[in-house]
Amino acid sequence: MKAVEIAKKVASGELTARSVVEQHLENIKNLETEVNAFNIVTTEKALEDADQIDARIASGETLGPLAGVPIAVKDNLCTRGLETTCSSKILEGWKPPYNATVIDKLKRADAILIGKTNCDEFAMGSSTENSAFGPTRNPHNLELVPGGSSGGSAAAVAAGFSPLALGSDTGGSIRQPAALCGVVGVKPTYGRVSRYGLVAFASSLDQIGPFAKTVSDAALTLEIISGYDPRDSTSISENSPEITKVLDEGIEGMRIGVIEELSGKGLDGISEDVLLRVEEATKVFSKAGAIVEPASVPASIYGLSAYYVIAPAEASSNLARYDGIRFGPRTEAATTAETMTATRTKGFGDEVKRRIMLGTYALSAGYYDAYYGKSQKVRTLIMNDFAKAYEKFDILISPTAPTTAFPLGEKTTDPMQMYLQDVCTIPSNLAGHPAMSVPFGLGKDGMPIGVQILAPALAEQNMFRAARVLELGNGEISE
């Protein structure tokens, strides 16, 4: 059931919050052993919260817009008193003394936290295989990955464990798993959603966003978690966008550009099925009255290279805090310096070590200008090219991921192959723009494909209007 319907039925007394939570716990019980979407399922607390909501409704109280709706959140979002591990041994057992702002906002909306979801360690990866607690599997085919890094959140929604989930997106970590699992995934404009309490990976790129089965559920969730937060100094002062109101306004006259550089056959490793679906999406948009034309964002092809310098550079700095001194497990050694090295060596997995070293190298004397300095300039080029494209277009589209879900183990030994999964999603992070993935048909292998809709900063309304049109079109092609 859709989150908006659950909330409506719970509020009217047609359904109890308890029965909603029990139903989802039942789904988890049946399939979680195979899928491994969660690091922790908060069974008892969720039932307690549900009973409280039912009691408040019984006493005539008016509840928030997500009354009784279960939500799963990625395990890199701080939850007070509840283990938050980032799927890393270095935070095993750590219970944050505070809530992320989004957690407080969800609570105020009367949503019910049902669990913390598995992810690539510290959100570094595109398959959820880099988790210290074992990989998550794609609910549509357990031999395949769910994508990543927010693979647990995407899988939880796809498997019916939770109608809603939150993830974080630094280079595509919400959109790519959404595409691979056949759900809606949104990366909002940088600064829309407070990052307070999101464990930092690359601070200038990280953004929290929703997963849902439908565009309207994603829109409602985004409205709830958005808004200025004085505790995040990069939070923007804009009010929450009013998206649900405009969802069904259609796209008559909207100018839509298909990014040639990310949708052409020249791009390495992009599959025919995916390109075909993007082409079909353009027909759906044209039929709905939009003007669809090819668009060019020339510097977008350099996004991947710039990203894999900038993100590791920021990560190497952000992850310096994990040293076993103030929190988390400690591997004791003779001196403090040796204790730090021993703790980090034992606590971090291979991919995190690779990125820390890559970033440390890119920032080190003699290489700074060639790598980090240059990548920052490329970031400017990408922003400029987007700005030029948006003079002609309201929104842009491209594939979300170059392929459908791939087998577990296929890319784990070749990091560069894994990184190529993010080629279409990275440019939006570098520019700070919103982008989302909408399920649109299946590939030859029967696995879901996502079409990416990109918009300029703060233009979530147009992005969602187009997403809604695509969602309706998807219903038609799969019938």
Binding site: V309, Y371, M416
Partner: protein, 100 residues
């Protein structure tokens, strides 16, 4: 192919990042980091001399908060998850001990 990063450089970077690598890890990380840096070499062809760098997607100036007391973390909760504490302080091993 140009070797982008040497085994010695990887070892040096690992030390800077306070990571200790085995001989096998040094080998595999050297080739894996090399592959990523090779990919990044496509940036070399770009002339960006006249381009301003962007460290951030939105224009930001220093962000200051009003100097007012706000609620802070519960000290008990903070120490509850600390590896070792003594008299309301984090306890660490000797900092001036002999390094091996």
């Amino acid at each position: 192919m140009v070797q982008r990063i040497s085994r010695e450089e990887v070892a040096h970077v690992a030390r800077l990042a306070q990571l200790s690598l085995s001989e096998e890890e040094l080998d595999s990380f050297t080739s894996q980091l090399g592959a990523v840096l090779d990919h990044a070499a496509d940036l070399e062809a770009l002339n960006v001399d006249d381009v301003e760098p962007s460290s951030h997607p939105i224009p930001l100036k220093n962000v200051l908060r009003p100097d007012e007391p706000i609620e802070n973390f519960d000290i008990e909760e903070v120490f509850e998850v600390a590896p070792e504490i003594e008299e309301n302080q984090f306890r660490v091993p000797p900092i001036l001990g002999e390094s091996q």
